[in-house]
């Protein structure tokens, strides 16, 4: 059962990542692309968790934690750059 669920999860998130890619390449604006990157990070967290479940190991979970903790920093930096130019004022 769990195996089927994990496979389904992989398929769904894989599709989501491809849709992210679509937004990233075509844009049209800069915020679209920044959001695409941010969403990709979130999908990456999901992929890592699923991969850990599939492999039955916890060794990857810290990485998911790290992604969750610092992944948004780039997004913030990009946004701040667009809004203010200077990211550390």
């Amino acid at each position: 059962m769990i195996a089927a669920a994990v496979t389904f999860g992989f398929a769904a998130i894989g599709l989501a990542v491809l849709l992210n890619l679509y937004r990233l390449v075509l844009g049209p604006g800069m915020p679209d692309r920044i959001l695409a990157l941010d969403t990709m990070v979130i999908n990456a967290i999901a992929l890592i968790m699923l991969y850990g479940i599939a492999q039955e190991t916890t060794v990857y979970f810290e990485a998911a934690l790290l992604f969750a903790m610092v992944g948004f920093v780039s997004t913030v930096a990009f946004c701040k750059f667009i809004l203010r130019g200077d990211i550390i004022e």
Binding site: F10, A11, G14, V17, L18, L21, L24, V25, M30, R33, I34, A36, L37, M40, V41, A44, L47, I48, Y51, V59, Y60, E62, A63, L65, L66, F67, M69, V70, G71, V73, S74, V76, A77, F78, K80, F81, I82, L83, R84, G85, D86, I87, I88, E89
Partner: protein
């Protein structure tokens, strides 16, 4: 030990005159003199042993892996030369005290002189040829300082530069020659090399080694065609000339030929190269010397000629000729140093050293004139003076040596050289001191104070004493030195004044008569010489230097024109060429390993990577978009690391990506947001072709490596097996970083720290220059949003800080056994801190993080270094780690490894470096914000 001290004392003592000059000029000279005297006494204490035929050795291992050891030895030749260097050095120190004027920095003079002296003694006592080379280069450097001592004179500076270039490039050649020699002999120790002469002469590399070594010796000893630097070095103060060109610097080349005599001499190659160079130098130098009006110029070319004489004798390759060379080295050192000193006295007291303006000084300066004329008589080879004896030996050797199968060539040419040397010596004596007294001297001539003429006086006493009682005074010294030169094959000679009438005496008499005749008809010969064009060596040399510099500039400017694209293109093109040469030069086939099936996830990752890369290439001129795409590529690469089970790398990659983005955004704010499109189409095609080829090459390489097994097996097994027993950790990656390759990591964190400090230093200086004014007038390119510190972000970031720090500590602590470690933890903590800077503003955060990041970097390196040193206390190599288990209540039993302390160092350095770099880059923005940084805006929170 005291053997080493003989060479090292002048180096150690070189600091003293610089200090003692404060106590006055006498104290300064006295200290310099006592340093030399101590060395001399140490040397003389070995005299009984050396004269008893012993070879004293002192050996210290320095870099045994390179064959470079501080091995010293003292045999007859070394003793002979060291005696000359230290003895005449002592006299020069006395002479210079009275010669230098009050305006000259005397302390500096003696510092240079002692450094030079130490280097020279080092050459004569070195047993290891690599050590000898080091001292050899030191003489080039210290003589550069001495020759250019009068910095205000352009001639002094140019002369010093020319001497350094000529002798320095000769030294380069000699290094190569010595390495070949050491390779043939199988050892870099002279004592071994000198015993393997047969093997060296039989080797096919004999000729290259010989040519290269002679390149060093000929340039140093000013042999034709490298003789031109020596006269230009005469711009130095006279004590320097007297020292460098009588007993030391130029004799180093002769010393080297004498030292290498057993290993290299005796072959036809040696004979024709060395003897010919010596013969030509002897005649050319003497001929030019006759016509030099500058007294020091005259003496300089006479030195060139005398050096040629010694070189020729060594070139003959017979033990008897070598003995004559040794004897002449001694005699030349005595009379030539005295001649230089008298030239200096004349210059000092009369105010000119132009022979045309001098004459008749014998009544005005009787003491100086006597000294000068005795020395000149010896130089001319007049009987009863020491120069006569060795010149006689030279003529005798020449009279029975065949050159190109002809008996007459050498005797005739040697006599010609002797004729010229009589002429210039006589000219020095007659044109300066004899003749009518004049009334147009620049100043009133009189004899100098005792201290100034005494050193020269002592030398001419030796000139006469050796001339009258050669065997009693110089015999044993010459004998023991020539035994060392010839490996003990030198004949036992009783040097006598009178040999009866033989070929040499007749040649001597002919030379004397013709030489005086030449001087009598001096005007005719000057007119004759003026008719022929003469090449000016300095012009040729300058043109050569200019051309070389222009060529170097052309190449450098072609490669480094300031365009990063061009650097990149050059590097990538080189890589392609090297790679292609390797690929097409060898055989190759398809890989043998079966390829793995493609999983759907892998396929998606691959698609993402390819699409992101292509998009990046398409939009590469929009820099912000490029950064976003780089972020995506970094994300996929981190996921790839997970996919291939490398969680440590993935963790590092994730954190590095974030820091990179922040760093680049900080910089991008003040850079153009668009890359200008190259107008020149071929350049774009060049870049495209290079990038395409390099990409294909790397892809092919990756395919080749992943489809076959390692050539020599993987080293993974070793690390996996030894990680826990050796390093006390189960995370192999971390154990490699802090233990197996700990020394690499140590070097890397130092580099990291230096890079951060360099960013600080560069910005610090540029922000105080023109850039600060430009920044003050800087206007943002795009309109700016109102809210500089959004409340939501501030709250979220502050709530995040403790968690992020906790994660950092957690990752650090588990690092030795699970994925993590000091490097990743450092990055995580840095990011946690940077978020505070971004969200709440620099002022707010900076006021609360009261840490000096410079100190954090230093502390990190220090902690890591001390951890390494701690291993020494346990008498184990640097950075050997140890671990044990500790039990604490509540926590339970856990492992403590010294590697943990090392990791703390890594952690601190990473945090310090990242924060220092980012904080400094953000300063640019604050300067622009406030117009010079004088009124920082307060945080709104």
């Amino acid at each position: 030990m005291s053997l080493v001290l003989i060479a090292l004392l002048p180096f150690i003592g070189a600091i003293l005159p610089a200090l003692m000059i404060r106590a006055g000029r006498n104290a300064c000279a006295l200290t310099a003199g006592s340093v030399t005297l101590t060395s001399l006494i140490l040397l003389l204490s070995y005299a009984p042993a050396v004269f008893g035929g012993e070879v004293i050795q002192a050996r210290f291992e320095w870099l045994p892996g390179l064959g470079l050891n501080a091995n010293f030895f003292l045999d007859g030749l070394g003793f002979f030369f060291a005696l000359l260097i230290l003895g005449i050095g002592l006299l020069i120190i006395v002479y210079a005290r009275f010669y230098l004027s009050k305006q000259d920095p005397m302390g500096l003079f003696y510092v240079y002189l002692l450094l030079f002296q130490g280097a020279m003694v080092g050459i004569t006592l070195s047993d290891n040829i690599l050590l000898l080379l080091i001292f050899w280069e030191l003489t080039s450097l210290s003589s550069f300082l001495l020759i250019g001592y009068w910095k205000h004179l352009p001639e002094g500076r140019q002369g010093a530069r020319m001497a350094l270039m000529v002798t320095g490039s000769g030294g380069m050649a000699m290094i190569a020659g010595m390495l070949i020699l050491g390779n043939i002999a199988g050892s870099y120790d002279l004592t071994v090399i000198l015993q393997s002469g047969e093997a060296i002469k039989a080797s096919p590399l004999y000729l290259p080694a010989l040519l290269l070594i002679l390149g060093g010796a000929f340039t140093k000893s000013a042999q034709f065609p490298f003789h031109f630097w020596l006269p230009h070095a005469m711009a130095a103060p006279t004590p320097v000339s007297a020292y460098l060109h009588s007993a030391t610097m130029v004799k180093a080349g002769v010393f080297l030929m004498a030292r290498m005599w057993p290993a290299l001499a005796g072959t036809p190659e040696w004979f024709y190269i060395v003897a010919t160079a010596g013969l030509v130098t002897m005649i050319v130098g003497a001929w030019i010397s006759i016509f030099k009006d500058d007294l020091k110029g005259l003496l300089a070319f006479s030195t060139v000629s005398q050096l040629g004489l010694m070189t020729m004798l060594l070139g003959f390759g017979t033990p008897m000729a070598a003995l004559a060379a040794v004897f002449h080295i001694l005699n030349h050192a005595t009379f030539k140093a005295a001649l230089f000193m008298t030239a200096g006295i004349v210059d000092h007291e009369v105010g000119t050293r132009d022979a045309k303006r001098l004459g008749g000084l014998v009544t005005l300066m009787p003491i100086t004139a006597t000294i000068a004329m005795i020395a000149a008589a010896s130089s001319a080879g007049l009987p009863l003076f020491n120069g006569f004896l060795s010149k006689e030996m030279m003529l005798y050797e020449a009279s029975h040596t065949y050159y190109l199968g002809q008996e007459w060539i050498l005797p005739v040419l040697a006599t010609v050289g002797a004729v010229f040397s009589v002429a210039y010596s006589a000219r020095y004596a007659i044109h300066v001191f004899l003749g009518k007294e004049r009334h147009d001297y620049p100043s009133h001539p009189h004899d100098p104070p005792f201290g100034m003429w005494a050193p020269a006086g002592l030398l001419v006493v030796l000139v006469v004493a050796i001339g009258l009682l050669p065997q009693a005074i110089a015999g044993p010294l010459v004998q023991v030195a020539s035994n060392a030169v010839t490996n003990g094959t030198a004949p036992v000679v009783d040097i006598k004044i009178w040999h009866g009438v033989n070929a040499a005496l007749i040649m001597s008499m002919i030379a004397l008569a013709l030489g005086l005749l030449l001087l009598w008809r001096y005007g005719t010969f000057v007119a004759l010489r003026q008719r022929f064009p003469r090449p000016e060596a300095k012009d040729i040399f300058d043109r050569l230097v200019d051309r070389t510099a222009a060529a170097a500039t052309f190449v450098t400017d072609g490669l480094q024109n300031g365009s990063l694209q061009r650097y990149l293109a050059t590097m990538v093109a080189t890589m392609i060429l090297v790679g292609a040469a390797g690929f097409f030069g060898g055989s190759h086939g398809a890989g043998t390993r079966a390829t793995l099936p493609i999983s759907p996830l892998g396929l998606i990752g691959w698609l993402l990577l390819v699409a992101a890369c292509l998009t990046l290439v398409f939009f590469h001129h929009r820099r912000l978009l490029t950064l976003i795409l780089v972020g995506v590529i970094g994300l996929i690469v981190s996921l790839g690391f997970f996919y291939f089970a490398a969680p440590d790398l993935a963790l590092t990659q994730i954190s590095v990506e974030v820091v990179t983005v922040i760093l680049l955004l900080l910089a991008l704010n003040f850079l153009p947001k668009q890359t200008p499109v190259a107008e020149f189409a071929p350049r774009r095609w060049r870049d495209a072709v290079l990038a395409g080829l390099a990409g294909l090459g790397v892809a092919g390489l990756t395919l080749a490596i992943t489809t076959r097994d390692f050539f020599a097996g993987s080293i993974s097994e070793f690390h996996l097996a030894n990680s826990y027993p050796g390093g006390g950790g189960t995370n192999v990656v971390n154990v490699i970083l802090v233990d197996f390759r700990g020394f690499d990591t140590y070097g890397e964190i130092i580099v990291l720290g230096i890079a951060a400090l360099a960013i600080f230093a560069l910005l610090e200086s540029s922000l105080h220059g023109k850039a600060s004014k430009r920044l003050a007038n800087w206007v943002p390119e795009t309109a700016r949003a109102f809210d500089s510190h959004p409340l939501l972000l501030v709250v979220a970031s502050r709530a995040l800080l403790p968690f992020a720090l906790l994660v950092g500590i957690f990752i650090f602590l588990r690092g030795h056994n699970e994925p993590g470690g000091g490097f990743i933890a450092g990055l995580v903590v840095s990011i946690a801190l940077i978020i505070q800077y971004m969200a709440s503003g620099f002022q707010w955060a900076h006021a609360r993080v009261r840490v000096d990041y410079h100190a954090v970097i230093g502390l990190g390196v220090l902690v890591a270094g001390l951890t390494g040193v701690a291993a020494w206390i346990a008498e184990r190599p640097f950075l050997t780690s140890d671990f044990t288990y500790v039990s604490l209540p509540v926590v339970g039993t856990f492992e403590v490894a010294t590697a943990m302390a090392f990791d703390v160092g890594v952690f601190l350095t990473v945090v310090g470096a990242v924060m220092l770099a980012l904080a400094n880059l953000s300063r640019i923005g604050r300067l622009a914000e406030t117009g010079g940084g004088s009124h920082p805006i307060a945080s709104q929170h």
